[in-house]
């Protein structure tokens, strides 16, 4: 195969929607790095000032600016993998470098080798395998998004249709958008990426907002450490996500959509692209997708390694080829989203729930939750448990039942010392507070939040200072650098957890509280607002360990 020229690559992408990221990836793949010449060619062609383009490229973790850089393996050194020897594995791989959690905590330790994900805890074990399916469900529990995920061939259009796929959409397309909105409203479906905003209300706001074309964005930038549910959904049920997006397009009057996929899911990228081709071939996407003369089409855009791009406005800037700082809100994406036009941004799990709601009805979905809580939630459980994996639970389900009864509890008869919530963003729960039910009100009453549903378990052999330090180091590295409290605060908290703070415990705690308080109340986005939950919960649950840490460091 001939190596494509600059001109060919530029011609291929310049008229496509959101062309910058795919163009950068094409040059990156072709040359093995992003050369100055490549960036100048792209800058000239897309008319992006070269200084801006250079700065933006350096924002992303995975774009290499050195010859041969792309070929260097990246090893996960996230909180779970660090427990299993990630640093030793990293040392054993020549030229490899560390990367933040790439969402394979149910099968550690992942190594990204160009467009393959290898897994294994030693160099000899490393092998490329399909990602793990969710464990078998508990017989007494009814699933929603995982209901058909284990059916062989569900990822193909044929397999998807064989298990009822696209039937809900086809019904909905025969009705009015307003009826579809009513169903989503009535189901109680709320954002499963962490914010919990009612999906029906978001769609309705976009449907009513002025400005065309409207856009549906699927946030598949699953960057929160310890979260890997969206990967499972997209790998094994990609058409459910596509069907949910088409339904959102019909409900809101949108004509286009993007799946913004995190860089670290190369297998998922291929699966999604195959599924989109199938859907396009079947006319589910394209010029008549929503009815005669009513087009709808979807594109996948691959991120390049930046946790903050999971924040919806940062994601939108990234899609638009801008520096991925979060935007100031208001205005919100429902009125000023992609290209400043009305835009739905929904999480993968939220969108994947929609086809099931369309088939079974709003009442069915609402009834899946326990008590007043509507629907289900996928929990990515990892760390010190016998059976890590993605578990779909009713909203309001007891966490300890999930950990002990479903996932086998801590290995080797050890006791559980702490769990994280919302991946890392919710900080720790420990002691009696672990006994929560999996819903926002109960978890928030403990000063944390459920978020996207990543829960990492740490048994009593783990040093919580070390865990907290690596968590804060992650936030510091991923802080975008825009707002002062987060940019400086995550750095200062990391230093204090490393042992560089004041030697006096009272002064140490005073500084850490003041930093945390100001970060939580004045940071511009969720990253800086949530990061101090790590230190606050550490001080709350492990005061003696904090005290000995400060004394030892003095």
């Amino acid at each position: 195969m001939n190596t494509p020229s600059d001109a060919e690559l530029l011609a291929k992408w310049r008229e496509e929607p959101a062309p910058l990221l795919p163009l950068l990836h094409e040059f990156h793949e072709r040359d093995g790095y992003l050369s100055e010449d490549a960036l100048r060619a792209i800058s000239d062609d897309l008319r992006i000032p070269i200084a801006d383009l250079f700065g933006t490229v350096t924002f992303y973790h995975h774009f290499s600016r050195k010859p041969g850089g792309l070929a260097h393996a990246r090893v996960c050194t996230g909180p779970v993998c660090a427990l299993l020897g990630a640093n030793e594995l990293l040392a054993g791989l020549p030229h490899a470098h560390a990367m933040p959690c790439p969402g394979r905590c149910d099968e550690p330790i992942p190594v990204l080798d160009r467009d393959r994900v290898l897994c294994g805890t030693t160099v000899a074990e490393l092998a490329s395998r399909p990602s793990p399916l969710p464990p078998a469900p508990h017989p007494d529990i009814e699933e929603c998004v995982f209901a058909h995920i284990r059916a062989p061939g569900r990822a193909t259009l044929e397999g998807y249709r064989a298990t009822g796929g696209y039937s809900g959409l086809e019904n909905a397309l025969r009705g009015r958008p307003g009826s579809l909105l009513d169903v989503i409203d009535a189901s109680g479906l709320a954002g499963r990426g962490g914010a919990g905003f009612p999906t029906g209300r978001k769609w309705r706001a976009v449907a009513e907002a002025a400005g065309e074309p409207k856009t549906i964005v699927c946030n598949a930038d699953e960057g929160e450490p310890g979260c890997f549910k969206d990967r499972a959904l997209m790998d094994y049920d990609p058409h459910a996500v596509i069907e949910g997006m088409i339904a959102a397009g019909f409900a809101t009057g949108a004509a286009r959509g993007f799946i913004y996929l995190r860089y670290e899911y190369p297998d998922t990228l291929r699966i999604l692209e195959t599924a989109l081709e199938e859907a396009r071939g079947a006319g589910l996407l394209g010029p008549e997708a929503l009815g005669p003369g009513r087009p709808f089409d979807l594109w996948v855009r691959r991120g390049a390694g930046a946790y903050i791009c999971g924040e919806e406005t940062s994601l939108l800037n990234s899609l638009e080829g801008k520096h991925p700082f979060p935007r100031n809100r208001p205005p919100f994406p429902v009125t000023h989203g992609y290209e400043d036009l009305p835009t739905v941004v929904n999480n993968v799990e939220t969108l994947a729930s929609v086809p099931h709601i369309l088939v079974h009805g709003a009442d069915w979905y609402r009834g899946l939750g326990i008590g007043d809580h509507a629907g289900t939630k996928v929990i990515s459980l990892s760390g010190d448990v016998m059976r890590p994996g993605n578990y779909e639970v009713p909203m309001g389900f007891p966490l300890m039942t999930l950990i002990d009864d479903w996932a086998g509890g801590a290995p080797d008869g050890r006791k559980i010392q702490a769990v994280t919530m919302a991946g890392l963003s919710g900080g720790f729960l420990a002691g009696e507070d672990i006994d929560v039910t999996l819903d926002e009100p109960d978890i928030r009453s403990k000063g944390s939040f459920l978020g996207a549903g990543g829960i990492m378990v740490f048994d009593d052999s783990r040093d919580m200072i070390e865990v907290a330090h690596s968590a804060m180091e992650f936030f510091a590295e991923e802080s975008c650098g825009k707002c002062f409290p987060c940019r400086i605060g995550t750095q200062r908290l990391t230093e204090r957890l490393h042992g560089d703070g004041p030697p006096d415990i009272a002064a140490w705690i005073d500084e850490v509280h003041d930093l945390g308080d100001t970060m939580m109340q004045t940071s511009a986005c969720g990253l800086g607002q949530a990061a101090p939950l790590i230190t606050e919960s550490l001080i709350r649950y492990f005061p003696d360990r904090v005290s000995s840490h400060v004394t030892e460091s003095a």
Binding site: A51, T56, E478, S479, K482, P485, T518
Partner: protein, 365 residues
């Protein structure tokens, strides 16, 4: 008389500002309304000429109904909002933010000749009593002593990543010469490929210097005069270099010109200058400058003389030219480096004395 009641002309609706109902024009930010009422809300990333950015978070205010304080610079006023610009909580956050900012820089105090806004951080550190040394740790920013351009000091160890320089370069000057690289605490102001300003799209207009609130970007030419004795005096005038008419403040000590700063309220430039208006002032005190009249002698060389002799020689030459070739044989070009008064005299002289309109100025472009 101004009308702040909201009932008179000019306002679209009212909000409650520190307990008082005030008028608001649609589209105004909470910060803009508060500033009109002299609330003196602190800021570091704010420059009224630029789009509000929301980085420093010092401009937070309490908004009724919002759990956390909101950044007043990026929040538009909406009818009925109730905000508070001073409270114990706001003061505490502002002090902590200032302590955080101070902890990342090598110097918190820089020479005022560094630039127009260079004292902003130091003033706020005093106002919030934030020189406590708390939050000590790594410092951010790598200075660029290798950039040997004669105009702009790039001392990023004193940078607080407010991005006013990047934004003024893009939004005001349209050069897009500088940008932000990396993330978080590793954030660094850069040119394309981390090069020198001279190899970038930079036009050395100096606007980045004048908006920098810490002196991390500083005026090398003005700082060279830091040791000149005397009080700094500002004299408002108009830049003579071209026809735009940018307002400038000349900085002087005794009779020595030590620097130039753009007038932020200059009607033609609103704080903008070009490389000439900003930096090309040292001819005034240059040793090569003529300090006395000279005439060419029989030997073909110039010799010092008195004014009467010199003017007689010039008058004789002009008179001979007009007598031999007519009044339109004279063409006058005034120098952009001459004072405005001299330029005016020049055109009066050419028009009045010779009767020709052949008068021009090198700044006409």
């Amino acid at each position: 008389m101004s009308d702040n009641s909201g009932n008179g002309t000019g306002f679209d609706f009212e909000i409650t500002l520190d307990g008082e109902k005030v008028g608001v024009r649609r589209g105004e930010s909470l910060y803009e309304v508060s500033e009109r009422h002299r609330k003196e809300i602190p800021t570091l990333c704010y420059d009224p000429r630029l789009d509000a950015f929301g980085a420093c978070r010092l401009c937070i205010v309490e908004l009724d109904g919002a759990r956390n304080p909101v950044a007043s610079c990026t929040m538009r006023a909406e009818p009925g909002m109730r905000i508070t610009t001073r409270s114990a909580r706001l003061d505490m956050h502002r002090r902590v933010l200032m302590e955080m900012v101070a902890s990342e820089n090598r110097d918190t105090d820089v020479d005022a000749l560094s630039g127009y806004a260079s004292q902003e951080m130091a003033v706020l550190l005093d106002r919030y009593e934030a020189r406590t040394g708390r939050f000590a740790g790594a410092r951010s920013g790598r200075s660029r002593p290798d950039d040997d351009n004669p105009f702009i000091l790039r001392d990023y160890e004193n940078c607080i990543s407010c991005y006013r320089c990047v934004r003024v370069c893009a939004e005001q000057e349209g050069d897009y010469a500088i940008s932000v690289m990396n993330r978080g605490f590793e954030t660094q102001i850069t040119t394309e490929f981390e090069g020198l300003l001279g190899d970038s799209a930079c036009t050395f207009c100096g606007q980045c210097i004048q908006t920098c609130p810490t002196g991390a970007l500083a005026d090398i030419k003005a700082l060279a005069n830091a040791d000149v004795p005397g009080e700094t005096k500002k004299t408002r005038t108009v830049c003579p270099y071209c026809g735009v008419g940018c307002s400038v403040d000349l900085l002087s000590r005794d009779d020595k010109l030590i620097g130039v700063q753009p007038a932020m309220d200059g009607p033609a430039n609103e704080g903008a200058l070009c490389v000439k208006g900003q930096f090309a002032f040292d001819f005034v005190q240059h040793p090569d400058r003529l300090a006395y009249p000279m005439v060419r002698g029989e030997d073909g060389e110039l010799h010092e003389t008195d004014w009467d002799t010199a003017l007689d020689r010039a008058a004789a030459g002009f008179t001979a030219a007009v007598e031999n070739h007519g009044r339109h044989s004279v063409y006058g070009v005034a120098s952009g480096r001459a004072p405005h008064e001299a330029a005016y005299m020049m055109q009066r002289f050419i028009r009045g004395a010779f009767g020709t309109n052949q008068i021009d100025n090198c700044s006409r472009a």
